[in-house]
């Protein structure tokens, strides 16, 4: 949803009900993380996993007291505007280069926390080299990898992570693995590298999964504090708009199709290192 | 004073450092200097070379195609550079190695049996200092007393014990001029 629609909506109800008149203490059933998430409507489509991922990560940053210690890198893709929502210092990187940018930030300020937030097009296609080499050097950064198996911002093209047979605008007859390659399991690919400390695959399509994903993000920042090396939290997610599904259907797709191919859980922990 | 020289030979004969020693010596004497290793087509044909320019005034082009002095350590260098010596200039060549000597009559030709003398000094590596000795004697591009100081800067400290041997070779080279 664009901001304009929200503004339209606001003006329609102006005079009758105001934001201030609803947002009262006694009416609160939900609250964004205080201060680390900016109080503004997000541009993400209804039901998109990005909003949830943003929220839980910013909760973790707030809970760990890292707002002033952390610098984020936004990618190119749907989350290009992550810096409009996350209330921490951020840099917006060129397509695929977040891990290079993150490497440099960490190297010049090793005492700070650094994260990148990247989608599958950004991280697993155009940015594969930067990702692999940051991992291999054991850069002490956190990579949050949102894998929804499709290009969101450019409207539904095939991603390296698209499932076999998956219909996208550039694989209209379904992804033919004999011609278009196989879905790429980045987490499994990176895990064996000695520089990698922690790789886990999570999802945010159900409340319990949201809790687990949050826990994983917490762990990853703790490992960064302990200078364990490269950490990646992959979040298997949905894309209702481009999958041409309702939010609920898209979450079912995640459950029934994505997760069987991209199984959830820790792939590598510092203990395995 | 302007001396535009080229040192040429096979790779490994010390031609690059020969030019560098001259450049250091010039700098120590507060002259303008420039050292340029071989470039472009000059690199072909089995020769390595370095141009060294020593001047009292600002050096214009480090790229030159005519030389005041050519120091040649192998036959291809004589063939390539003899014609590029300015009239009245010098060619100094290793007469042990170079069997077909330069023939021009409008330049000074110095035959120095550098390799033979180096063998006598029991270290073939001092060939370049022998030839440099002849070159500096012939051109007065720098004072001979400056050369050991230049060697101190060019050679890594662990080789400083070889400076006396190098200076001995340098003097042998000088003895072949005039």
């Amino acid at each position: 949803m664009s901001e304009k629609t929200f503004v339209d909506l606001e003006s329609e109800i102006e005079g009758t009900v105001t934001r201030e008149s609803i947002c009262l203490e006694e009416n609160l059933i939900y609250q964004k993380p205080i201060d680390t998430l900016i109080d503004t409507p997000m541009h993400y489509c209804p039901g998109c996993g990005h909003s949830t991922a943003h929220k839980i990560f910013m909760e973790v940053v707030a809970e760990m007291g890292l707002q002033e210690e952390i610098i984020g890198v936004a990618p190119v893709g749907c989350s290009v505007f992550a810096y409009h929502y996350m209330n921490v210092d951020m840099q917006e990187a060129a397509h695929g280069r977040a891990c290079a940018v993150g490497t440099a930030i960490k190297r010049v300020m090793p005492e700070k926390y650094v994260f990148t937030y990247q989608g599958d097009g950004d991280l697993a296609a155009i940015g594969t080299a930067e990702t692999v080499h940051a991992a291999n050097r054991g850069e002490n950064i956190l990579v949050i990898f949102i894998n929804n198996g499709i290009y969101g911002m450019t409207s539904g093209q095939m991603a390296p992570t698209s499932l076999a047979g998956m219909v996208t605008t550039t694989s209209p007859y379904g992804r033919d693995t004999s011609r278009q390659g196989y879905p790429l399991k980045i987490s499994e690919m990176l895990a064996p590298l000695p520089g990698v400390a922690y790789v886990t695959r999570q999802s945010v399509h159900k409340p319990n999964n949201v809790k687990r994903a949050k826990k994983a993000l917490q762990k990853a920042l703790q490992y960064q504090k302990e200078k364990r090396g490269f950490c990646m939290v992959e979040i298997v997610s949905n894309c209702p708009s481009n999958m041409k599904m309702t939010p609920l259907q898209s979450n079912q797709f995640v459950e029934e199709k994505m997760i069987p191919f991209y199984p959830l859980g820790d792939i590598k922990t510092p203990e395995d290192k | 004073m302007l001396q535009e020289a080229i040192f040429a030979g096979f790779g490994g004969q010390g031609v690059l450092s020969m030019g560098m020693i001259l450049a250091y010596a010039g700098m120590i004497e507060k002259k303008q200097v420039c050292w340029m290793p071989s470039y472009g087509p000059e690199m072909r044909g089995g020769t390595a070379n370095a141009v060294t320019i020593v001047s009292d005034n600002m050096i214009s082009s480090p790229i030159i195609s005519r030389y005041d002095t050519v120091v040649a350590l192998n036959q291809p260098s004589v063939e390539k550079f003899e014609s590029r010596v300015k009239p009245g200039g010098n060619i100094i060549y290793d007469s042990t190695n170079i069997l077909i000597p330069p023939t021009r009559t409008d330049i000074n030709i110095y035959a120095v049996p550098g390799s033979e003398e180096a063998v006598k000094l029991k270290n073939i590596k001092v060939l370049n200092l022998i030839m440099l000795g002849a070159m500096i004697k012939a051109t007065n591009a720098v004072n001979t007393e400056t050369v050991p100081k230049a060697l101190e800067q060019v050679l890594p400290e662990r080789y400083h014990k070889l400076i006396p041997l190098n200076m001995e070779a340098f003097k042998v080279g000088m003895s072949y001029v005039k």
Partner: protein, 357 residues
Amino acid sequence: MGDLKLMKGNEALAEAMIRAGCDAYFGYPITPQSEVLEYLARESEQRTGMLAFQAESEVAAINMIYGAAGCGRRVMTTSSSPGMSLMQEGLSYIASAELPCLLANVVRGGPGLGTIQPSQADYFQSVKGGGHGDYKLIVLAPSTVQEMVDFVKLGFELAEKYRNPAMILTDGAVGQMMEPVELFDQMPRRTVFPEWATTGKKPGQERRYITSLHIQSEKMEEINHRLQAKYKKMEENEVRYVEMNTEDADYIFTGFGLGARICMKAMQMARENGFKVGLVRPITLFPFPTKVYNDLGARVKGILDVEMNAGQMVEDVRLSVNGQTKVEFYGRMGGVIPSPEEIYEHFIKTFIEGGKK
């Protein structure tokens, strides 16, 4: 004069970087400039704590420059032509996000993988933008090893003054040759960083973010206006060039970097033969010294522009002269360096003999 040191151009560049209080270097090996990273790897961390980092590619290196410059650090990278082509995308982002940084392109002959021999064929790429969008780099063209040192300091100063990437545009010959240099004293590395730098959100203050994305056209146009105003200011205040023997000159030789030095010798030959030739050497290729060419164009019989390319800067010379006098070009390409004799002969052929006909 302080102590002189005989140094290779590339090593002088690296030494100057350390002394300029540079915080980090990110680069990728490519001939003919690999000595820069090698030198820094030996020296920088021990001496000042400056990071010397070998990236996995030039693409990564320039984005690391973006990241570190975004943290307000004094950062530099160097490369040679094919590598600099890979950096163009990142440079466009850096220019748009207005991050100060310094680059050096030790140019080799192209196009393509080309040759490792010296060339000036990246003038257009450096001066006219190179990457996408309307942006400019501050471009400095050293012609001596001393200027390789001096322009590191100047390059950082200008880059920081204007929050703009600056580039030292040199070539393989200047990178490989040795000349005496006087080094400036070690400058301290910064401990206080610019207000806009992303160094962690400060309590009670707005977060900082570095971006080149402004999705609304009106906003993006506003950013463009701001950039153009900045470039105009550079044109007003930062033009640098050298004139020699122009007072009585009938003809002008011109070129940049190494080309200008070869021209200088050709000029001396012309003077010895009784021709009143002067020399103009731009130091800043952007901002370009338009006025000096325009003024000279009004009173000289001709200008000979010499470059190690197919004729690139000559377009700017012609624009500056604006038809007031004849502007001829002489160049060699693909790593071949013109000799002073060739230039002199071309001058005689074009302006003296050609002029008589």
